[in-house]
């Protein structure tokens, strides 16, 4: 299972990277979203995916899944939510101010 998810993470990182390297503002934003999905999944996988039960002690299971990565991911999700929201607004403000979404045209003059 870990291997399969690791491959999936690789795919997510690849796609995210590809999107980040494009010239369209929106695609870049989508790239960052996918990138964070990849990173979160990676944290979970790195805690091991051995299927214990959920880390709810009320359930009295013999084996629980690792709670720490879950807590870390929760924190990371919240943070990336904030970041994404901010980036989104920044994106459309940029787009409106420059009237273009082509990063090629958002280089700025070379000699300024």
């Amino acid at each position: 299972m870990e291997i399969l998810i690791a491959v999936l993470i690789g795919v997510l990182f690849s796609v995210a990277t590809y999107l980040l390297l494009t010239k369209s503002l929106l695609r870049v934003v989508l790239g960052t979203v996918l990138l964070s999905h990849g990173a979160h999944l990676l944290i979970l996988t790195m805690g091991g995916l051995g299927l214990g039960s959920a880390p709810l002690l009320g359930e009295e299971a013999s084996k629980y899944s690792d709670p720490l990565p879950q807590a870390l991911i929760l924190t990371a999700i919240v943070i990336s939510f904030g970041m994404t929201a901010l980036l989104l607004v920044l994106t459309y403000r940029t787009y409106k101010a420059h009237q273009t979404d082509d990063l090629d045209q958002l280089r700025g003059r070379l000699d300024e």
Binding site: T32, S36, M46, L68, I79, L87, L90, R93, L106
Partner: protein, 495 residues
């Protein structure tokens, strides 16, 4: 156990939160912010004193009363409290400069809250002893910086801050990647525990790769070659005080983390990892100074000087010896002072002349002698002319580098220093020397005095740190010894 360690980030956070309620009341906002800035600085100085007094030269706090390595632990060793002191100082002077320069419109939209939240993140990053918590503090710092850099909505600001944000988000994602790998291999997140466990693991291949990932992450935050290219333009847009704050603090957080992790955790194969750092240090110096020489805009030049100086600051880590690391720590301290002073002065120059182009300025020394000489001292300190503070940092690095047989980097450092001198003299000669030209002077000499008030203590400090280098060096050598002997750090945290 000492709750002393939470104040440096809790106080600014508290102030930032409180100021949300008073966003529209300028006077009150300033009074609260100013008082808090002073209090924070005084407290940080007190903290340094306390830490220096203890036997271990280090205090820790297990937050939430959970034993390390399970809970989050805050660590105030000599390096981190020094960094806190410096960031509080930078915060303080920037605050008073902001009072004079920031438009009330900007103040209305939570400027001071963001300002203090940035300090929260920076101080927290310096004090935390937990890798993931470091990530969280990084994000606090970064998101405050995103807002501060983009606010105002000038075209160039929006455009460049978009790039800035994306670059940093990518680096942050890889921070998580690195932390995840480390957790998988070692099963812990506490940095002392990581240092301990990494040292006892026999397979170094994977750990070296993880080290490189962190080098990549912190290098991107600390503006190392080839990860800094976003920096020059994105720092150009915002007002001078924000550029000063960023130039002095943001890269330092990256460098601090680099120093921390590569002395505490990734210290197993320095001949490999630290050689790469050294290589990057050299390239950063060179490309930074070339950038500075290629520009004629005064703000751009100083921004490139940030990059060039990053190379020096990281050189001691690459050399990896006590004296060289002491040099690096001293250099970081010095750079925070001088960089802020330079950006303040540059801000005033641009205000006075109404242009940033040094080719269009001339003869300002006649009309604004004070401004000119303050700039001159700061510039010479940056270049490393004795007996100013910049010299001693450079000197310790040179001796440390030669002592370890790293001749090439020392040669590069000295040649780059010469080029730095050239770039700073070029500014001085264009802006302050020469005939008084016809450009209108927006501010008279007298009118610049209130703006110069925050600059003067910084200049005094760079002179004092030079003439009185001994106590400072006793301190940074102590800090470097702590860094070079991580066992002590580990033993205090994990008894």
């Amino acid at each position: 156990m000492s709750n002393l360690l939470v104040i440096p980030f809790l106080l600014p956070m508290l102030v930032g939160a409180v100021l949300i309620f008073f966003a529209k009341q300028h006077r009150l906002q300033r009074i609260i912010a100013g008082t808090a800035g002073i209090a924070l600085f005084v407290y940080a100085a007190f903290l340094v004193y306390i830490v220096y007094q203890t036997k271990e030269k280090m205090i820790i706090l297990e937050v939430g009363n959970w034993d390390a390595p399970f809970g989050i632990v805050l660590v105030g060793d000599m390096l981190s409290v020094l960094m806190v002191l410096m960031s509080s100082l930078v915060g303080l002077v920037c605050l008073f400069y902001a009072f004079k320069t920031i438009h009330s419109e900007r103040e209305k939209y939570y400027f001071y809250s963001f300002f203090f939240f940035l300090l929260t993140g920076v101080n927290g990053a310096f004090l935390t002893g937990d890798l993931f918590n470091l990530f969280v503090f990084f994000e606090v710092t970064l998101i405050s910086s995103y807002v501060l850099i983009a606010n105002g909505g000038k075209k160039i600001q929006l455009r460049e801050s978009f790039k800035y944000v994306v670059m940093n988000m990518v680096a942050s994602a890889f921070f998580l990647v690195g932390a995840a790998y480390l957790y998988a291999t070692t099963g812990t997140l506490n940095m002392a525990d990581l240092g301990n466990r990494v040292a006892t693991m026999d397979q170094q291949g994977v750990l070296n790769v993880i080290a490189i990932i962190f080098l990549f992450v912190f290098g991107a935050k600390g503006a190392l070659f080839p990860l800094y290219f976003w920096l020059p333009k994105s720092y150009y847009g915002p007002p001078a005080v924000i550029t000063a704050l960023f130039g002095a603090l943001l890269t330092k957080v990256g460098l601090y983390s680099l120093i921390r992790t590569f002395t505490l955790i990734f210290n197993q194969q320095p001949q490999f990892t630290h050689s790469i750092i050294l290589l990057l240090a050299g390239l950063t110096m060179i490309f930074g100074v070339f950038g500075a020489l290629s520009k004629f805009d005064i703000k751009q030049i100083i921004i490139y000087q940030i990059i060039s100086q990053v190379g020096f600051m990281i050189m001691g880590l690459g050399v990896f010896s006590t004296s060289a690391l002491a040099g690096s720590v001293y250099y970081i301290t010095h750079d925070m002072i001088v960089k802020v002073a330079l950006f303040f002065i540059v801000g005033i120059i641009i205000r006075v002349t109404g242009t940033g182009d040094i080719r269009k300025m001339s003869g300002l020394l006649k009309t604004h002698p004070m401004l000119g000489w303050l700039f001159f001292i700061a510039a010479m300190s940056l270049v490393g002319i004795p007996p100013l503070s910049g010299f001693f940092g450079k000197f310790a690095l040179v001796v440390g580098g030669l002592d370890q047989g790293q001749y090439l980097i020392v040669a590069v450092a000295l040649i780059v220093s010469l080029l730095n001198l050239f770039s700073m003299l070029r500014i001085f000669m264009n802006v302050f020397w020469g005939e008084k030209n016809s450009t209108t002077v927006a501010l008279t000499n007298k009118q610049t005095f209130p703006l110069l008030r925050p600059v003067i203590p910084l200049i005094v400090l760079t002179i004092a740190l030079g003439l009185g280098a001994e106590p400072a060096f006793q301190y940074v050598i102590g800090a470097a010894e702590q860094l070079m002997n991580p066992e002590h750090y580990i033993n205090v945290i994990l008894p």
